[in-house]
């Protein structure tokens, strides 16, 4: 599933990040990597999201969010 399609409030595991290289790096530095846990705090219809990662909040445009593949975490 893409991050832009996730459910609000759910926690997911990042599986793959495939966006432009400079954005990949920025995300990496912000702690969004493969195997990172993230929580979707807010999501708009367009796919723009606010996620919580490593104790901070990030707003990501739909263009970036649709390049991040996530998987559900078994509860």
């Amino acid at each position: 599933m893409k991050l832009s399609e996730g459910r609000m409030g759910e926690i997911y595991l990042v599986q793959e990040v495939s966006v432009a290289p400079n954005i990949t790096r920025r995300l990496e530095a912000l702690g969004v990597n493969e195997t990172t846990h993230i929580q979707i705090m807010n999501r708009k219809k367009s796919g723009t999201v606010i996620i919580k990662v490593r104790g901070t909040w990030l707003a990501l445009g739909a263009g970036i969010a649709s390049g991040i593949t996530i998987a559900e975490v078994a509860s």
Binding site: R25, N42, S46, G47, R54, L58, A59
Partner: protein, 664 residues
């Protein structure tokens, strides 16, 4: 004490409070705001602590020490090449985990690092706890100093730690990577030393080679294809974060509790449907306060101004000063400058409200709320941040466009930002809407803010139709936790704006008022009795044909608009001088002005057209200068100015032509 000067670099994530700390230490008053990327260039200050001289450098906020963004390159170059003796790594404790990633990289640099734990007070307020004894143990025994930049606590201890640690030298190795990576690092370190002899900081260079950092690969080319077979950046990053997780596990307690308020607030403030109406409501509230509270305070200013007017005339008269000098002082300077000063309460309230919004952490959310609207015109939501700064002043707003990633976005943002209604236009709205719109004055003024915003968005849309930018929807911005705005930060911010306003009144507005007085009282034949024979009237009449379609066909308006190119408040001060009205912002002043204007058939529709024109045409000389400085192009600047004049003329004409048909 030692004569050497210790150079200290302030490094940290964007929005971690470096600048606040830097201001607190050096007594400087650099601009602070609660969103990432306010500091776009390095700043320097000097302090002496117990006889030891220190040179402090405030660097732009960065998330890592790679070389991908401008800020990162500036910071990295400064640390590598500028002989920084000690790094003060400012860390926002409320997002410790992410902040420590940069710390890990700095620790690999082999320079003395002192960790300043900022915002401890906020974190403690929210119930989070941190073990500051265990933390240094896990970070190679570097000094860890809790500080509060806002409350100015821990500053002496921080400086003491800097000096002490400088003498002590670098710390121990902190992160040990997995076996595979460590084996590669050892091989690279050996090869580097063999090939280049002395390599300062060899482990760091080896790590950067494994990450395939282009700058370092060019500087230290090595063969070794079997070691450098691919980029290990991702793995190295992950392993650093793994270690950080251990640190956080050991040192941080009750962190979830501290997030509760922000998460609750965001359920409403960034709600997918309500987010936008809430934002517009907040804006409306800001302007409501600006008008009502500002107007309430204004009364007192007017009493003082009336008193000064009366007594100056009496005093100058009793001293036997010639009539023309009395006229210059009373009708020129006091009418112009004094008139402008009575708007100060409105300005103060506006900036207080903006400072409050900025410092609370809400502004960064606006980028998220506005992202889709901005996206539909080809810009990222982040471009809305400079635009919203434009409600305060266009100059810093244009400078803030530097925070945007690419040149195209920057230029487009510079093109549309001046349409956002800055505080200098406020006196015009206050005056003309009060004169012509009675109890709907506030609504009339608020509508201009909305028109400014819509114009900016519309123009961006047209620009995007003509020269489409690739649609990326690449918003990427960190949202700070909400906090109670800090009184000191707010006061510094507002005071700076008040000072700017007073300086403007004392310089540009003073100068233009004096010049205008001369232009209105003289012609080629010397002093004139009848203003309509003056230089000013000649100049104004020349502009009248152009202004008639917009309902502004009076020579006085032409002159006022021309003067307004220097600064927008000047439009108001010019009206005061042009019609010789003392205390223009008082009830009598307004009545006098609206009577004179009314005699020429100037009514509410004309007033609205005038306000629209003032909203849209070139903001001021300073803003034009800033556009030139930021775009490095006179051609671009000239085009922007012409474009603004054209838009203003079209806008005002449209308003007048439609308005006079409906209401006329």
């Amino acid at each position: 004490m030692s004569e050497t000067v210790i150079t200290v670099g302030f490094v940290g994530n964007p929005n971690c409070g470096k600048t606040t700390l830097f201001n607190a230490l050096t007594g400087a008053n650099l601009k602070v705001a609660n969103w990432p990327g306010v500091t776009v260039e390095r700043m320097e200050g000097r302090v002496t602590y117990k006889g030891q001289k220190l040179r402090l450098i405030d660097l732009p906020g960065i998330y890592s020490l790679t070389s991908y963004s401008i800020e990162e390159r500036i910071a990295r170059k400064c640390i590598m090449e500028e002989d920084i003796d000690v790094i003060v790594n400012v860390v926002d404790v409320s997002s410790l985990e992410r902040n420590l990633y940069l710390t890990m990289q700095l620790l690999e640099f082999k320079k003395p690092v002192v960790l300043a734990l900022n915002m401890m007070d906020i974190v403690q307020e929210r119930g989070m706890e941190i073990d500051i004894h265990r933390l240094p143990e896990m970070l190679g025994q570097i000094p860890v100093v809790p500080v509060s930049a806002r409350k100015k606590t821990g500053l002496d201890i921080l400086l003491h730690a800097v000096i002490h640690h400088y003498e002590e030298g670098p710390h121990d190795k902190v992160v040990t990577y997995s076996k595979g990576i460590e084996a590669k690092l050892t091989k690279l370190e050996t090869a580097l030393l063999e090939q280049y002899g002395e390599v300062e900081n060899v482990r760091w260079v080896a790590i950067k080679l494994l990450e395939q950092d282009t700058q370092i690969m060019e500087r230290y080319p090595l063969g070794l294809p079997e070691v450098l077979d691919q980029s290990y950046e991702n793995r190295i990053t992950n392993e650093k974060y793994d270690y950080i997780e251990e640190v956080v596990e050991e040192c941080l307690f009750n962190k979830e509790a501290s997030h509760a308020i922000t998460e609750k607030a965001d359920r409403y403030l960034t709600h997918r449907i309500w987010g936008l109406p809430v934002f517009l409501l907040i804006l409306a509230l800001v302007f409501f306060l600006t008008f009502t509270v500002g107007d309430f305070l204004k009364g007192y200013f007017e009493i003082v101004l009336d008193w000064i007017n009366l007594h100056t005339t009496d005093l100058l008269g009793s001293l036997g000063v010639t009539d023309w000098l009395i006229s210059l002082v009373v009708d020129g300077i006091l009418a112009g400058v004094g008139g402008i000063l009575t708007f100060l309460p409105n300005i103060v309230i506006l900036f207080l409200a903006l400072a409050f919004l900025e410092d609370s952490g809400y502004m960064a959310r606006v980028a998220y709320v506005m992202n889709e609207i901005m996206g539909s015109v080809g810009l990222s939501g982040k471009a809305f941040l400079p635009m919203i700064l434009g409600f305060g002043c266009t100059v810093p707003a244009i400078m803030a466009s530097r925070g945007l990633e690419n040149e195209q976005d920057r230029k487009r943002t510079m093109l549309v930002t001046p349409f956002m209604s800055c505080s200098a236009r406020l006196p015009i709205y206050v005056l003309f809407s009060s004169m012509f719109f009675g109890d709907k004055a506030m609504l009339a003024a608020y509508s201009l803010y909305v028109i400014g915003m819509l114009t900016a968005i519309l123009i961006a849309k047209v620009a995007n139709k003509l020269y489409p930018l690739p649609e990326e929807n690449g918003l990427l911005i960190e949202l700070p936790a909400y906090k109670t705005p800090n009184a000191r930060t707010v006061v510094i911010y507002v005071w700076k704006k008040v000072k700017d306003y007073l300086t403007k009144a004392g310089t540009i507005i003073f100068l233009v008022s004096v010049i205008l007085w001369f232009v209105l009282n003289y012609s080629f034949h010397g002093p004139v009795e009848d203003v309509s024979q003056s230089f000013g009237a000649m100049l104004g009449r020349w502009m009248v044909p152009l202004l008639v379609p917009a309902g502004l066909g009076m020579w006085q308006i032409g002159v006022a608009l021309l003067c307004g190119l220097s600064a927008k408040e000047v439009v108001v001060s010019s009206f005061a001088v042009l019609f010789a009205i003392s205390n223009i912002n008082s009830a009598e002043g307004m009545a006098a002005l609206s009577t004179v204007l009314g005699q020429s058939g100037f009514g509410a529709v004309n007033a609205y057209a005038l306000m629209v024109f003032c909203l849209l045409y070139s903001p001021c000389a300073a803003a034009v200068g800033t556009i030139k400085r930021e775009s490095h192009s006179w051609a671009f600047t000239g085009k922007v100015m012409l474009f603004q004049l054209l838009v203003a003329w079209c806008g005002a004409t449209l308003v007048f032509q439609i308005g006079s048909r409906i209401f006329g």
